[in-house]
């Protein structure tokens, strides 16, 4: 398919805001993100309250590896940047470039998930399991929930890529791309708090 064949008509500069439906979708998504903020905040509050209750299990400073967290942070930050470029390509109606950036986003998301699985697996080997202590339970719930959001994002964006390949970039598909990019940035924003509050503060003690 040609990158320009959708432009035949008059696809506007910001196709995601061209229709009332598109604008409402974006607004509705922001309200959802407000609710997501509450969801993650609640898990953060539980973690903050329980993070010193380690029972017989290992403490945060004993198991966390700064290098692993740093690599994960970089992967997610780059992934977020790829998603920014995808939306910019969309605004310029460069469909092929947009798909390329989206694929980069998804691949980096998968790398992040792989690293997280590797990390959790190492923790379990060190006796830090879900039922070990209040600290471990709240840790896995919080970080695992973030991981689940990444997994959902990967699946969602993959499906959107397939839909774009099938239907092209239109005023119907554009809001979906935009909203998924906002979601992906939100996941990165949550990760900023996770690496700060969970990993770095855990390392400090």
């Amino acid at each position: 398919m040609s990158a320009h064949h959708h432009v035949e008509g008059q696809l506007p500069h910001e196709p995601e805001r061209a229709t009332m439906e598109g604008r409402n979708k974006i607004l509705g998504f922001w309200i959802f993100l407000g609710a997501e903020t509450v969801l993650f905040g609640t898990l953060f509050s539980a973690y903050l309250a329980l993070r010193h209750n380690i029972g017989d299990g290992p403490a945060a400073s004993e198991i966390f590896e700064l290098s692993t967290t740093f690599i994960a942070t970089m992967i997610l930050l780059f992934s977020s940047l790829m998603s920014v470029f995808a939306v910019q390509a969309m605004h310029q109606h460069k469909v092929k470039a947009m798909i390329g950036w989206l694929i980069a986003t998804v691949v980096l998301g998968l790398c992040f998930l792989g690293l997280e699985i590797f990390e959790f697996n190492a923790y379990v080997g060190e006796g830090h399991r879900m039922p070990t202590s209040a600290f471990s339970s709240s840790f896995y719930t919080l970080v695992g929930f973030h991981g689940a959001h990444v997994a959902f994002g990967v699946l969602w964006i993959t499906l959107l890529i397939l839909q774009i390949l099938k239907k092209g970039l239109t005023v119907v598909t554009a809001p979906k791309i935009y909203v998924s990019a906002i979601y992906w940035h939100f996941i990165d924003v949550v990760w900023v708090f996770i690496f700060t509050v969970v990993y770095l503060m855990g390392k400090v003690g």
Binding site: H4, V7, Q10, L11, P12, H13, E14, L27, W30, I31, L33, G34, A35, E36, T37, V38, F40, G41, T42, F44, S45, A46, L48, A49, L50, L66, T69, F70, T73, M74, L77, S80, L81, S83, V84, F85, Q88, H91, Q92, H93, I182, H185, F186, D188, V189, V192, F193, F195, T196, V197, L200, M201, K203, V204, G205
Partner: protein, 105 residues
């Protein structure tokens, strides 16, 4: 794009197509803030209290940068997104203070 897209081009001119520059600046800023946070902890030479302050400061600035530029919250027409997120944050603050108070005092 060819000339038969005059409407699109006109639109683009009115909206002034945004370049990647400020997004790359936001990325470099995020990178720097992340590095400062990790370096503070890795060096281990700063006392705990002050490390906490640095970490929270770096995180808040980075989140602000990413939300403003990458999530477009600085752009026009983002009043409701700002209200939605602030409402969420108010509940989160209440939850965090409540949980800490409940368990530790």
């Amino acid at each position: 794009m060819s000339s038969n897209h005059s409407v699109t081009e006109g639109e683009a001119r009115r909206h002034k197509v945004e370049g990647p520059r400020k997004h790359i600046v936001a990325f470099i800023l995020s990178l720097a803030l992340t590095l400062i946070a990790f370096a503070t902890v890795a060096s281990g030479e700063i006392n705990t209290q002050f490390t906490y302050i640095i970490l929270v400061g770096m995180a808040l600035v980075q989140v602000f940068v990413q939300m403003a530029f990458w999530m477009h919250m600085k752009d026009r027409g983002h009043l409701f997104p700002i209200i939605a997120i602030i409402s969420g944050v108010v509940v989160v603050f209440t939850m965090v203070i409540m949980a800490l108070y409940w368990v530790w005092w």
